[in-house]
């Protein structure tokens, strides 16, 4: 017997993104930095110049670089110093992170509180980057990118909140009251989920390949065909950060039992639990992103 579903919605992801100028292309300043980083002989001075063009952004960057997240040996006072300290790549990620958070600074209140949304994302981000440091074979500089992947893992949800608030609310209600994972409900209702929307946004904004792949697959890491380890790691982090604190007992009860998943991620449950105190203090610092 096939049931007729009456509440399906005809929509596609591209419409969500393309219909909104602010989503259709990446934030301007990020796009410039991106171009600079693509060229092999770009200088610190050039990078700094682009950022200094935006005083608010510069202030945020300096605040973050001086936080315990980057723990500079002495006070960083100029963007050039910040570039030297965090690295060009690190700065790129920082700019993207702050730009995205600025970009989605409000969502309809009845859906979710924007601050708690970002706090959860920041928890995921710090945990992912701390876990990445634990990995046996960690590619150089990949930890920063893991921070970004953790921060952006639910970005698709924000797109849906902004573009189709009523439908997003319906999905939320169904998720909360029917005990089904949100992405499953979204798939049922719209034919796509927030991970797919997030990945589509990342591709449209030409974010690094790793980010696009992780955003697309983090809900079902077994389906990933590239960046397996990163995807598994973000999966573990996002499961963990659903607890609203770094409370060891709560987190222990949330951890997946799937051995292969841990294997792929290159970490162990013990290692994860061991990083919690460190993640906790990094979290406090990273909250500076939100202000």
């Amino acid at each position: 017997m096939t049931f007729i579903r009456f509440d399906q919605v005809k929509l596609n992801i591209d419409d969500l993104l393309e219909g909104d100028v602010r989503l259709a292309s990446p934030p301007e300043i990020y796009a410039r930095l991106h171009h600079l980083l693509e060229s092999p002989d770009s200088s610190t001075a050039l990078l700094a110049e682009v950022i200094e063009h935006d005083p608010a952004l510069s202030a945020r960057i300096l605040k973050l670089v001086n936080s315990s997240l980057y723990a500079p040996p002495r006070q960083v006072e100029t963007i050039s110093e910040a570039v030297d300290h965090a690295g060009a790549r690190g700065l790129h990620d920082l700019v993207l992170a702050t730009e995205v958070i600025q970009h989605f600074d409000r969502i309809p209140a009845e859906l979710e509180d924007i601050y708690s949304f970002w706090r959860q994302s920041v928890r995921c981000a710090v945990l992912a980057s701390k876990l990445a440091e634990q990995r046996k074979e960690s590619p150089p500089g990949s930890n920063d990118s893991m921070f970004l992947a953790g921060l952006l893992h639910r970005i698709g949800l924000l797109v849906m909140y902004a573009r189709i608030p009523e439908l997003a609310r319906k999905a939320l209600l169904e998720h909360r009251h029917r005990g089904l994972p949100l992405h499953v409900v979204q798939q049922e209702l719209f034919g796509f989920d927030y991970a797919m929307v997030g990945a589509a946004l990342a591709r449209r904004w030409k974010l690094p390949d790793m980010l696009c792949t992780v955003l697309a697959n983090h809900l079902h890491p077994e389906q990933a065909e590239a960046y397996l380890s990163e995807t598994a790691l973000i999966h573990l982090s996002q499961v963990t950060c659903q607890a609203d604190s770094f409370d060891r007992q709560v987190i222990e009860s949330l951890l997946p039992q799937d051995g292969a998943l841990w294997e792929t991620a290159g970490v162990t449950p013990q290692a994860l639990l061991a990083t919690l105190p460190e993640a906790q203090s990094a979290y406090g610092a990273a909250l500076a992103l939100l202000h």
Partner: protein, 590 residues
């Protein structure tokens, strides 16, 4: 032409001349690059991404190999609004390559520019710039157009959603539900599927709303919606179809499953705990269930009416219960009868078409008929008959009884005013005593007609009296203060309690006809009737016996001590009553 211009590759002394001409034409930013391949890095580091630029690239000859070198760079140039112009320094023409270069995105191809006047080249470059401008304008317009299209599709989807959903609960709304139901009914007929429909109506919602306020009522509705949502698999369509009414469409289920689902929903709603703040007391839900085999109903409205009727019955049975629709339900037939009577009664009231028939009541002591019971009748043309007042039951259920009561009181007093020899008993419905205007109206009418109030007797049934015990008692006392008499009708038919007899200050007791019909044969009836008469007399009340159909019964009742007699033997209801003698020539049997 104040735009950045990049000169890439070997242009020889041509570069100097071109540079000078460009400067003359207003170009201040001229960048020299060694090769085509250096262009991307130079552009990326440039600070001028927000305005167009031109790149002039020299080529010995324009061939396939050169076009292949351009290809990887062109997307970036496009992105950064930089137009590429190829300057071919060696003579010779490779037309296919030239076409390929233009198709790949090059703006223009200049042949042996070193032999041309720089001014001409600047003109060509200006044209190229114009072309670039037009190109980006078109790209922008296209992007905006596609963006608007996409945005419209998103807005359409949202509007469509809003049109089909209830804003408070995010459930489907009535319109969407009806459409889905119609579709399911059609599919059911094709594929031989049985569907079930649940119609849910919250019990006491109005009360809750009034007591706790509308915002709290809304919170309650959301809680109920979520509770229902959490109890149903997604393939069962759940909708809010009225203020506190919900509906569920269960596709392809049998009655047993449907009943189980309904029962489960009932329990889930009953389990909503008051929180003392927004939800102040328990609400239950009455659920009507309709099960529709293929072809059983033809439209959503038909299906909804049946489920709603079943829900209504669930409600009349006290609520918090599930009732399955069945055509044979007695209440449902009443409901149908009520619906049938609604229009005729309203018409009769509106056009003053009701009339009274009068049934004689014999005074045993006087052997005379001067008292009649007035019975309301509706004309035959409106479906009435002479014998019964069935429409009165419908009128009570339809809430029209009060109006009829008032009409009867008016008519009865008019009658008494015109027939000074007669007295009259009139029946009042159970609602009469809640009608605030009854008493003043009666008072005013009695005064203006100047009739002796004791000529008017009000008859109320025992069951009606009990329904609103306190008010009724109070009202009876007030009406008796005016001087009217009261009779307790159908005594013994209901939950007869002698306590009521004690409490209700009535003058007369009318023994229910069911004790009289078989009185001759049934010794138990005789014992009961005798005891009722004795008690009434003991309490200083007179007794009327109804349904007397023979001389023998009358004789026996007179023997037992009744004061008044009524029934077909005494006389059927008539339209023009008068005083007459009775019984003198018919000596009652011993």
């Amino acid at each position: 032409m104040d735009i950045p211009v990049y000169l890439a590759g070997e242009l020889g002394e041509m570069a100097e001349r071109l540079g000078a001409s460009l400067k003359d034409a207003g170009t201040r930013r001229l960048h020299r690059l060694a090769s085509l391949e250096g262009l991307p890095a130079a552009l990326r580091q440039s600070r001028h991404h927000d305005q167009p630029a031109l790149a002039i690239v020299s080529a010995d000859k324009l061939d396939e190999a050169f076009v292949a070198r351009c290809r990887p760079i062109l997307p970036l140039l496009e992105q950064l609004h930089v137009g590429l112009v190829v300057a071919v320094t060696a003579p010779g023409l490779d037309i296919p390559s030239q076409i390929a270069a233009l198709n790949a995105g090059c703006l223009d191809v200049l042949h042996t520019p070193q032999r041309q006047l720089p001014a001409d080249i600047v003109t060509r470059l200006q044209l190229a710039l114009r072309l670039l401008h037009e190109h980006h304008l078109r790209v922008d317009q296209e992007r905006r157009f596609f963006g608007e299209q996409a945005d419209r599709r998103v807005r359409d989807a949202r509007l469509n959603y809003l049109a089909n959903h209830d804003e408070l609960t995010d459930l489907a709304n009535r319109a969407a539900f009806e459409r889905a139901l119609d579709k399911a009914i059609a599919v059911g007929r094709q594929k031989q599927l049985t569907h079930a429909l649940l119609y849910l109506d919250l019990d006491r919602f109005k009360l809750h709303n009034e007591a706790a306020g509308h915002p709290s009522g809304n919170v309650l509705l959301q809680r109920v919606a979520n509770q229902l949502r959490s109890s149903l698999p997604p393939e069962y369509l759940l909708a809010r179809i009225g203020a506190d009414e919900f509906a569920v469409l269960l596709q392809g289920v049998d009655e047993r499953e449907a009943l189980a689902t309904a029962e489960q929903l009932r329990k889930r709603v009953a389990a909503i705990e008051p929180d003392g703040e927004q939800i102040i007391f328990h609400v239950g839900v009455s659920i009507g269930l309709g099960v529709f085999t293929p072809g059983a109903v033809s439209s959503s409205s038909q299906a909804l009416v049946q489920a709603e009727q079943a829900c209504y019955l669930a409600k009349t049975r006290g609520g918090d219960t599930v009732h399955r629709f069945s055509c044979e339900d007695e209440e449902l037939q009443n409901l149908h009868e009520d619906m049938h009577w609604s229009q005729p009664i309203r018409q009769a009231l509106g056009e003053n078409l009701l009339f009274l028939a009068y049934q004689p009541i014999l005074s045993v002591a006087e052997a005379r008929i001067s008292h009649y019971e007035a019975l309301v009748r509706i004309p035959r043309s409106l479906g009435g008959d002479d014998r019964s007042a069935r429409f009165m039951l419908a009128a009570e259920r339809l809430g029209l009884a009060r109006q009829i009561d008032l009409w009867v009181v008016d008519k009865a007093i008019d009658f008494l005013a015109g027939n000074r020899e007669l007295s009259l008993g009139v029946n009042l419905s159970s609602h009469a005593f809640q009608e605030a205007s009854l008493l003043p109206r009666l008072q005013q009418k009695l005064r203006s007609s100047a009739i002796a109030p004791e000529r008017l007797t009000f008859e109320i049934t025992e069951t009606a009296a009990i329904m609103n015990f306190t008010e009724t008692r109070h009202m009876i006392a007030r009406i008796r203060d005016l001087g009217c008499r009261f009779a307790l009708d159908d005594f013994g038919s209901g939950f007869s309690s002698y306590n009521y007899l004690k409490e209700f200050p009535v003058d007369l007791l009318k023994i229910d006809g069911s004790f009289i019909v078989g009185l001759q044969q049934d010794r138990r009836d005789q014992i009961i009737v005798q005891s009722m008469i004795d008690i009434a007399h003991g309490l200083d009340k007179e007794v009327v016996a109804e349904f007397i159909e023979s001389a023998e019964t009358l004789g026996q009742l007179i023997e037992m001590g009744i004061e008044y007699a009524q029934g077909y033997y005494i006389g059927k209801p008539i339209l023009s009553p008068e005083v007459r003698e009775f019984g003198t020539d018919r000596e009652p049997l011993q």
